[in-house]
Amino acid sequence: MLLLLLVINIYPLLWMILNSLKTERELSTNPFGVAREPVWSNYIEAWKVAKLGPYLVNSIIVTLSAVVLTLLVGALAAFFLSRFEFKSKGFLLVYFTFGMLIPIHATLVPLFIEMRSLNLMDNRLTLLLPYTAFNLPITIFILAGFMNAFPKEVEEAGIMDGCSVMGIFGRLILPMLTPALATAFIINFLNNWNEFSFALVLINDGALKTLPLGLANFAGQYNRSYTLQMAGLTIVLVPTLLFYLSVQKYLTAGMTAGAVKG
């Protein structure tokens, strides 16, 4: 049973990768097997016609800048929410929890209008702010959850040594926070990397499109050339899988440690 489920999980991906090396004709006559003669040129052509290069660069810029901003702002907020007592703390925790339940598509229209009136459409900053806003709740919860487990003595030691509040944060808390930051980084990275609907609505300029958007366009235009599509998808899929495989230890360990304690 478990093995069957494993096959169901992995087969669609494998099937696509195998077929990406076939000609259109072989795909229709032999959709199951391995290509008789691998057509590597599919990959070169897909890379070119789908303009994967520029989209890749856009995705990297948008994703990384949003991740860095989210982690900076989120870690700071989590620090105060986790290590200090103040009146509005309870309210703020509920306020941020709410963000995890918002159906993000309900915000597409108003965000579009807001961005237009702020003159933020179609530039490099356009996606940065919504991506940050929508990833802040989960980021704050991962980081605050992790920090809650630190003993009170951390701050006391800091005060003894004459640290300021920001000194305690920078020199004591942040280094201890590394494992949780790694998890938050990965989750943020994947969320932004795969995000589609905000990019669809907020980016019209072809030169600024991200990878998911570019792929959707490409599939729409070349909807008769399946092997080419499969090659393009494989080019996008494989790096994501490699990234996931190399970080999955931290991802699942971090989720276990506090991300999802409900």
Binding site: H105, E114, A133, L237
Partner: protein
């Protein structure tokens, strides 16, 4: 602590960036969506006050109700598919046999990290009439007459999409449950096994009560996740054929950005929010009563 009370302004300064970004680009849009829903507006010319007319139209709009029904199918399939399957996988992988079997966990979680666009395009080809795997397999075993255009059949398409959703997200719940199970002392689970409580019985009487809180949280996550479905449908069917796979988000999208009815689109957005929170509250209520 004394020292910290003197630093109220530092607390405020530390929280302000997060609160401002989050409020401006997450909370404010929701509120303005409610506001726009009272207007007749094409997005460019001046807004016209429309009162509750958008909502009246919405209630009389058959496509809207169809899209809500499809949303409910997604919720139902997700909650009844992903959560039991995820729990099953978690229990299996938490057993002695698979303690070291990291590969299973890795593979089951894999679809969660793949972009929905990639997943949608792969499954589109999977369901392809001519060379798609489903039809090829049916033809191979002589069930030619079952082979069909899966996504083009209005009676089936929505369920065909539900399968993809379950495929993509079961791994997420597996990891969540695995995390919860790892906090349960293994003696408890083993003792239950010795007492003859195995299989479904053991799961229902021992495991489920112990991790009940995690299951509740997972159900909420699952409902809000299922109601967010957009990318998948937008790519795979775009709501068609003849609105049979329309969900709230796709209908909102076409009404707003293709038909230029911003006010009406905002009313749909607002309805999605109300329904989402309604369902979450309802599910909490049901689960609480079940717990007693």
């Amino acid at each position: 602590m004394q020292m910290f009370l003197r630093h109220k302004w530092i607390i405020a300064a530390g929280l302000i960036p997060a609160v401002v970004i989050y409020t401006m680009f997450s909370i404010y849009p929701i509120l303005s969506s409610v506001y726009y829903s009272f207007f007749k507006w094409d997005g460019f010319s001046p807004k016209q006050w429309h009162g509750l007319q958008n909502y009246i139209n919405l209630i009389e709009d058959g496509v809207f109700w169809q899209s809500i029904r499809n949303n409910l199918y997604f919720v139902l399939f997700s909650v009844l598919g992903e959560i039991p399957l995820g729990l099953y996988l978690a229990i299996m992988l938490n057993g002695k046999l698979f303690r070291k079997g990291g590969i299973f966990r890795t593979v089951f979680f894999m679809p969660v990290v793949i972009s929905t666009i990639v997943v949608s395009l792969i499954w589109n080809m999977f369901y392809n009439y001519q060379f798609g795997l489903v039809n090829t397999a049916l033809r191979a075993v002589g069930l030619d007459h079952w082979a069909q255009n899966w996504l083009g059949n209005p009676a089936l398409a929505i369920f065909v999409l539900c399968i993809v959703v379950v495929w993509q997200y079961t791994g997420l719940y597996m990891v969540i449950f695995l995390a919860a199970l790892q906090n349960v002392p293994s003696e408890v689970l083993e003792a239950a096994e010795l007492d003859g409580a195995v299989g479904i019985k053991r799961t229902w009487h021992i495991v489920v009560p112990i991790i009940a809180d995690t299951i509740f949280a997972a159900v909420v996550l699952c409902i809000s996740g299922a109601l967010r479905a957009f990318d998948l449908i937008y790519i795979m069917t775009n709501g068609g054929p003849s609105h049979s796979t329309e969900v709230g988000a796709t209908y909102m999208f076409t009404q707003t950005f293709s038909s230029m009815k911003y006010g009406y689109g905002s009313a749909i957005s607002t309805a999605i929010i109300i329904i989402s929170f309604g369902l979450i509250v309802l599910s909490q209520f049901i689960l609480r009563t079940l717990k007693r």
